[in-house]
């Protein structure tokens, strides 16, 4: 009660400073603080037996609807969590606040986002697996001389949307936090790879355009790792594909040796919001890419769409 008064600056349960507490009958806790702007006065309304009367003030219908929907949502959530915990009781014996059930509740989903926000962004980057690793091995984590390198600032963003239509269909074995971690790292690396392609396109003017029909595996021998988009990827042979990092919308370019350094900004942030049946998590971080364009081999291709169609 004392904490409530200190934080909300009203006498609990009483009108003071033109504000009212709206209490939850079940929990006894405050679910909203209504001010004068949240009160709806209908004015004069007709009486059943004729004439008019002043209607009693009531909560603004929009606020009332939100509170009602919120209460309904919480009750539904409690029921679903208990059902899920009961279903898993045999092998796992879960409590309703078990992290395995986080995805099924609003507070749990916030906990997942909080855990993600407490991650080290550098670790998220470098923990990206798969072909992203082929790309990352060309960038240094440690301090190298960046005096002669081109510096590019950018923002890497990963937006994940997860459907939360029916909590009872939540798979308790799905590791939502682990999935977000991996997806965030991969999306960030893809953003950096795409950015590097743009920089190379602007900076490397000596690259000679090549017809996509003329591509052979030997074309790709000059670099260790290649980055390309989906259309070009389909034209590659299996030996080249296994060292090619596929990034949607990226220019086609190759990398050899260490091409530069990646610095991660300190402004890593996570934003989470829920709209109807969608849960959105957006993880953003700024970065600076120091790159030696001499080690980036741009391959400007023409006729990719036609070649992809014929392939």
């Amino acid at each position: 009660m004392a904490d409530e008064f200190q934080q909300l600056a009203c006498v609990p349960g009483c009108q003071l400073d033109d504000g009212w507490f709206v209490l939850d009958q079940d929990s006894g806790r405050t679910v909203a603080v209504a001010g004068p702007g949240d009160i709806y006065r209908a004015g004069l309304v007709p009486r059943e037996f004729g004439g008019c009367g002043e209607a009693l003030p009531r909560l603004d219908p929009a606020l009332e609807a939100r509170l009602t929907a919120g209460l309904h949502e919480r009750a539904r959530e409690r029921e679903s969590l208990a059902w899920l915990a009961e279903r898993a009781r045999g092998p796992l014996a879960l409590g309703i606040d078990d992290p395995m059930l986080w995805l099924a509740s609003r507070s749990g989903r916030t906990s997942i986002a909080r855990e993600l926000s407490e991650e080290d962004p550098l670790r998220l980057f470098w923990s990206a697996g798969g072909r992203a690793l082929h790309f990352l091995k060309h960038l240094s984590k440690s301090n190298i001389d960046t005096a002669n390198l081109v510096a590019v600032d950018g923002v890497a963003c990963c937006r994940t949307v997860i459907g939360i239509q029916d909590p009872r269909t939540t798979s308790i074995l799905f590791d939502a936090l682990g999935s977000l971690r991996r997806k965030t790292g991969l999306a960030w690396v893809a953003a950096v790879a795409r950015q590097l392609g743009y920089v190379a396109k602007e900076g490397v003017k000596s690259a000679v355009p090549m017809a996509a029909d003329d591509l052979t595996d030997a074309t790709f021998d000059s670099a260790e790792t290649w980055v390309t988009d989906a259309d070009t990827y389909g034209l590659l042979g299996p030996q080249v594909k296994c060292r090619t990092y596929l990034v949607d919308g990226a220019e086609t370019y190759g990398l050899r040796d260490l091409v530069g350094k990646l610095d991660i900004g300190a402004d890593f942030g996570v934003e989470t919001r829920e709209l109807s049946d969608r849960w959105e998590v957006t993880a953003t971080v700024s970065y600076t890419l120091h790159v030696d364009l001499k080690k980036v081999q741009l391959l400007p291709l023409v006729g990719v769409a036609r070649a992809a169609e014929q392939a």
Partner: protein, 80 residues
């Protein structure tokens, strides 16, 4: 590192270490409605710029007798 939570009905309004039972909370609110001397404590708390522990202790001392069904720790928690 930052976390932004947005959307309808996000998070509790009041953050507290205490987790009182709904019944105790409802009983204390009913007491506050009935007793002006308790409400006066809140005014003193604000005008005197006192620490939140002061309000908790003063409330506890005054309502503990009336909340005889609760253990003292529970009364302390609901007043917190």
């Amino acid at each position: 590192m930052s976390l932004v939570v947005s959307g309808p009905g996000t998070g509790p309004l009041v953050r507290s270490k205490a987790d009182p039972s709904p019944n105790a909370l409802r009983t204390l609110r009913a007491l506050l409605q009935r007793r002006p001397d308790l409400r006066e404590l809140f005014t003193q708390f604000r005008t005197g710029n006192r620490p939140v522990e002061w309000l908790r202790d003063m409330l506890t001392a005054r309502v503990a007798v009336e909340l005889e069904d609760l253990r003292f720790e529970e009364v302390l928690e609901v007043c917190q």
